[in-house]
């Protein structure tokens, strides 16, 4: 065989074309770029519109896949496609590029975005509570004071966990540098705790449940114990979408509200529904949702001025936020429905989770 330039180039072009075809599959292209992200294809003949909503696979964002599922299996006017992200910087980038116009996001980050001129509004909340301070199972830590001089991990400086922690320290009369804070990716927190690299962490579920299930850690405080009606994440919508497509936003907020109401009372089913979306072990989700109702709740999701003002004040005090944004600019409650009925999800339509998980 002799290397001829034309043969070589032809080969490369062929490989590229083949990969391109496999990648974009023009033969089953049906108008939606994000169709491949849909886990359940259900007939929803009445839906005339569709919207992609971003979320991270954490239980704070549980209502997002539930709304996705509900929009496809019940009669709804808008088809919602939940798009999973792996970190918030990517979500921010997608939002800035308007690749997504609605997403779940940690509240202080949304404020920061607004500060930086990205026109987003908080239209609804994702959950209440849903976060815990976890410490080593066999450690001696009994209260926040015992954490003095120790290392505590938080998911991001712009997380409400960080804010609340500082608020709590203030209440306990501790100085801000009494505890060393480290920013860690949530999945690394349980293992870091196990290896003794950190002495505790404050993060959303399911990363707290994971430590408990693995016998590594125990809950020191539930979020609600230290900050009633704790919020970490909210539904953030781009103002362009609010301006151009009010019906879709209305459907979205109603869908999430109804999904929340459903998930609150159908916790086992919600765990089963979300597991394939999250690609997570259903056992962990079951634990989060079922072990203790104090862990997370999906009702009372209308954002109030007091809730968010408190967060903003704390952020400004800590120097992480710089601008006072009036709450009426930040929050848009126009789409919250008057009455919230649980979504009419047929539990029989939720696919059975696959067998064969870790240990």
């Amino acid at each position: 065989m002799k290397l001829s330039i034309t043969g070589f180039i032809t080969g490369i072009v062929l490989i590229i074309v083949m990969l391109g075809l496999l990648r974009y599959r023009p033969w089953n292209h049906n108008g939606s770029v994000n169709i491949k992200d849909v886990v359940h294809d259900g007939p929803n003949n009445k839906a005339k519109r569709q919207l992609t909503v971003g979320y991270l696979p954490v239980t704070c964002h549980l209502t997002c896949p539930v709304t996705d599922f509900a929009s496809k299996t019940t009669h709804a006017n808008t088809n919602f496609n939940s798009q999973v992200f792996s970190d918030f910087p990517t979500v921010v980038s997608a939002l800035q590029a308007k690749q997504i116009q609605a997403t779940f996001m940690i509240v202080p980050l949304a404020m920061k975005l607004r500060e930086q001129g990205v026109p987003v509004r908080i239209c609804y909340l994702g959950h209440r509570d849903g976060s815990e301070i976890v410490v080593a199972k066999n450690g001696k830590v009994r209260s926040l004071r015992d954490l003095k001089g120790k290392k505590v991990a938080i998911p991001s400086p712009y997380s409400n966990q960080n804010f609340v922690m500082h608020k709590l320290m203030e209440d306990y009369g501790m100085k801000p540098d009494d505890i060393t804070f480290v920013v860690l990716p949530p999945p690394d927190m349980p293992t870091s705790l196990a290896s003794g690299a950190i002495d505790g962490y404050f993060v959303g579920e399911p990363f707290c449940a994971k430590a408990e299930l693995d016998g590594i850690g125990r809950v020191l405080y539930y979020a609600r114990d230290i900050w009633p009606n704790f919020i970490s994440c909210a539904l953030v919508v781009h103002e362009d979408l609010i301006r151009d497509n009010r019906e879709v936003v209305e459907d979205l907020v109603r869908g999430i509200a109804q999904s929340g109401a459903w998930a609150e009372t159908h916790r086992a089913e919600a765990a089963r529904l979300a597991a394939p979306y999250y690609r997570q072990d259903q056992k962990v989700l079951d634990y989060v949702l079922l072990s203790d109702p104090r862990r997370v709740s999906y009702v009372q999701l209308t954002p109030t001025d007091e809730d968010l003002q408190q967060i903003q004040d704390m952020g400004i005090k800590m120097g992480l936020l710089t601008k006072h944004i009036p709450m009426r600019e930040l929050i848009d409650r126009d789409f919250v429905p008057q009455t919230i009925t649980p979504a009419l999800i047929d539990a029989a339509k939720i696919p059975d989770p696959q067998a064969g998980k870790i240990h």
Binding site: M1, K2, L3, I12, D37, S86, P89, P206, Q354, G356
Partner: protein
């Protein structure tokens, strides 16, 4: 002439070892397989006797299960295609721009003096340092990953091609002059084939970089791909599926490198590897 020809014909045969072919095959395939089995056995033993806690060391069985799961869900195949597509595009773009630029720089001392410090600067900048900008400029999807692959492979390719050109024996250009090779023909018929063996080596090396980078690049700003798969498995607290992706990445990387190694067997570049 007689003795000389005989000696030559002897030499033109492939210089194979004198051992029996069967023995060679055992050594070539048997030994690596044995090492592989040993590693697997160690892994199995470690997880069987719980030398590490289960959350820190998934068992081979769990990994096998998650392989089944990922393949049946179609995610693994989709992720493989996504990663291959990004590497292919990024790599082809950087080869199409980098090799010609390298050829040009290799022949123009002034160009070399002007550009080499800058090229070196960028070469030593880890492509991962570009991640924030890749996402800012290209948002999410294929583009940032392709950009990162390009940044990772372009500079090594240019520099390798350039130094290959600079080391072409002068005699080839003299011969080319004797036989009237000029301009574009000189480039395609003399300069390019003369550096091709080194360019192929550079391609292999930078493909290795590309494959390492794609995994890291896909951990941010992507919605699919092998690197994303690992990241997602980690987010999902599923180390078993992370291991299944790691195995896929390793096997694919190795396979493609073997494929590229086939290029070095082509007769018109063979000379470059036998001296």
């Amino acid at each position: 002439m007689g003795p000389e020809t005989n000696k030559r014909q002897g030499m033109s045969m492939p210089a194979g070892p004198t051992a029996k072919p069967g023995k060679v095959r055992i050594r070539r395939f048997g030994l690596p397989v044995m090492v592989l089995l040993c590693v697997l056995l160690t892994w199995w033993l470690v997880s069987f006797f719980h030398l590490f806690p289960a959350y820190a060391m998934p068992s081979p069985g769990a990994v096998l299960n998650s392989f089944k799961e990922e393949i049946s869900a179609g995610r693994l195949v989709n992720d493989i295609i996504a990663s291959l597509w990004r590497v292919a595009i990024g790599f082809v773009v950087s080869a199409c721009l980098g090799i010609p630029l390298g050829l040009w720089l290799g022949q123009h001392a002034a160009g070399r003096q002007a550009f080499v410090p800058m090229l070196n600067f960028f070469r030593f900048l880890s492509p991962l340092a570009w991640i924030p900008f890749a996402i800012l400029w290209f948002h999410i999807g294929d583009k940032p990953a392709i950009f990162l692959i390009f940044m990772a492979t372009f500079f090594p390719l240019v520099l390798a091609t350039m130094s290959a050109v600079a080391t072409i024996p002068k005699i080839y250009f003299r011969v080319a002059r004797d036989y009237n090779y000029k301009g574009i023909e000189l480039l395609t018929k003399v300069t390019f084939p003369a550096v091709l063996p080194q360019v192929i080596t550079a391609l292999r090396v930078s493909y290795g970089i590309a494959w390492v980078v794609i995994v890291a690049a896909e951990m941010v700003g992507c919605q699919d791909g092998l690197g994303y798969g690992i990241w997602e498995a980690r987010n999902g607290l599923r180390l078993d599926s992370a291991v299944c992706y790691m195995i896929t990445i390793g096997v694919l990387g190795m396979g493609i490198d073997r494929l590229l190694a086939q290029l070095t067997k082509l007769p018109d570049v063979r000379w470059g590897y036998e001296r």
